[in-house]
């Protein structure tokens, strides 16, 4: 019960905190709306028919990935800069339970992106907002957020070992948009890309949303999001333990 309360309070705090950040306003609303507009114009001018809802969902998921990548990738570094990392580690609960709400909050903020791109598309590009299976869509959405948020945990716990974590974040935005098929069919990419896409939560998250939106069967994809999330949680747990041990041994906790 205490654990659930800690996760809930932490998540709520970080969502409020990030909502007030100009940077996250940019990555979760302004940038996705601009990229969505580019995509809408491209698909309108292109020869492929009937794809605008497909594009709107993909553009929204691009925003969820961006806010997870930049938010979670720099999560521990930010705590260092703000001087709160020592307290986060010194408190009785494990560091994992302090960081997980933050990384899930960064993915949750991405929901603004999905909302913004869908509304923008509906208002200015006549994107149909008919979701065939609203219940499945309502389940797929938090499943995708949890999957991406826990992937964020892996980013947070591994990027911290790299001094220029924000450079890694800059590097990984477009490739993940590409290899997870957010705006394209994965069949266009070389065969060796497929296994990479399978281990990334955005692949299953976007497929779950699209299946729910077009009356397919999203449940296997939802299951994959959650299963991958569990794997990320285990990886993140050990990576955080490793980081904490190194920081204590080398007395580098507060050194940015």
């Amino acid at each position: 019960m205490t654990t659930l309360r800690l996760l809930w309070v932490g998540w709520r705090f970080y969502v409020k905190n990030l909502t007030l950040s100009g940077f996250f306003l940019l990555t979760s609303i302004v940038q996705p709306v601009i990229f969505a507009s580019v995509a809408y114009f491209m698909f309108e001018a292109g020869a492929r028919p009937g794809t605008l809802l497909y594009v709107a969902l993909g553009a929204g998921m691009m925003g969820i990935w961006s806010s997870t990548l930049f938010g979670s990738g720099g999560a521990i570094q930010w705590q260092r800069w703000q001087g709160t990392l020592e307290y986060s580690i010194a408190v009785p609960p494990p560091l994992l339970l302090v960081i997980v709400p933050l990384t899930i909050a960064t993915a949750t903020i991405g929901l603004y992106s999905l909302t913004a791109t869908l509304l923008w598309g509906w208002l200015f590009f006549d994107v149909p907002l008919d979701v065939a299976n609203p219940l499945a869509f309502a389940v797929a959405l938090p499943a995708a957020v949890i999957g991406l948020g826990l992937l964020g945990l892996v980013l947070a716990s591994t990027f911290v070992l790299y001094r220029n974590a924000n450079a890694l974040s800059n590097l990984l935005e477009f490739p993940v948009w590409l290899v997870t098929g957010l705006l394209i069919s994965l069949s266009l990419l070389p065969g060796w890309v497929a296994p990479i896409s399978w281990v990334l939560a955005p692949t299953w998250g976007i497929n779950a949303l699209r299946e729910a939106a077009i009356a397919g069967n999203p449940w296997p994809e939802i299951g994959m999001c959650l299963a991958l999330g569990a794997v990320y949680l285990v990886i993140g747990h050990f990576a955080l333990q490793h980081f904490e041990r190194l920081a204590r041994e080398r007395a580098t906790l507060a050194i940015a």
Binding site: G22, F23, Q31, N164, N170, L171, L178, I184, L188
Partner: protein
């Protein structure tokens, strides 16, 4: 005159070295070379999926647009970085001529934008269906240099606004993303609504990209010289506006004692 040249070259160089911590290879390679290449690949594949145009259209558009990244972000960082490190007031208190002081900072960024664009073209030649004739490369280089200059001039405007605005990086991001939307980078200009085409034609890049596409299709530099001159003219106009704003906001900053408000 000699002192102004010194401020232009040495001042610009030192500012670049001092303010841009991403000059270290571990930061420069992922940010200025890696991410841009993936941008080109991403849009080339989206273009294939949307069945819009061939790879050459997207390679040329994005590779030229990438020259904006160094120019716009760099100039924003030039002002924002001075503010952040609390060195803006001493800089403004110096007797140095403002024109070379300001413009000198743009030269390394133009070179940087040129390198980023060239690398994107090179990797696209390796990985995508993009194969311009070797004889076209010098003309392409001229167009990229003109676009890098024009984008850095737009960056001058953003940087100048940074003297007044609290969050210049937010503005810089919006400007760079908007170039993707308005300048025909990934969307044929004629597919945009009329008002967006008009906005696009008043921005840097639009004419540069058009010229680069014609050159990639076999045109000579002489065939597209009107586009190159237009691009340079737009760049010069933005540089003039940027300088005027810089002086205005410097004056306002002194009057309101708000130069180093972060």
């Amino acid at each position: 005159m000699r002192q102004d040249l010194r401020v232009f070259f040495v001042g610009g160089y030192l500012s670049y070295r001092a303010l841009f911590n991403w000059m270290h290879p571990t930061h420069y390679i992922p940010t200025m070379l890696g991410a841009p290449v993936f941008q080109v690949l991403f849009f080339a594949y989206v273009g294939r999926f949307a069945q819009l145009r061939d790879d050459e259209f997207f390679v040329t558009g994005n590779a030229v647009q990438l020259s904006a990244m160094a120019g716009v972000y760099g100039m924003a960082m030039t002002i924002g970085g001075e503010r952040w490190t609390q060195t803006l007031s001493p800089l403004m208190a110096s007797p140095a001529n403002r024109l070379p002081l300001f413009l000198g900072r743009s030269v390394p960024l133009i070179v940087n934008g040129f390198i980023t664009s060239s690398f994107a073209f090179f990797v696209s030649w390796l990985l995508l269906d993009f194969d311009p004739a070797a004889s076209q490369l010098p003309a392409l280089a001229v167009v990229v240099a003109a676009s890098a200059f024009a984008c850095t001039s737009l960056g001058l405007v953003v940087g100048a606004i940074g003297l007044r605005a609290r969050d210049v990086f937010f503005l810089a991001n919006v400007v760079v993303f908007s170039l993707l939307l308005f300048c025909g980078v990934n969307i044929p200009l004629e597919s945009l609504p009329g008002w967006m085409q008009a906005v696009g034609r008043s921005l840097p890049l639009t004419h540069g990209i058009e010229a680069a596409r014609e050159i990639a299709d076999g045109a000579s530099l002489a065939d597209v010289d009107h586009l190159v001159w237009t691009e340079l003219g737009i760049g010069a106009a933005y540089a003039a506006v940027g300088y005027a704003l810089f002086r205005l906001f410097e004056h306002e900053g002194r009057r309101r004692a708000s130069l180093e408000t972060i």
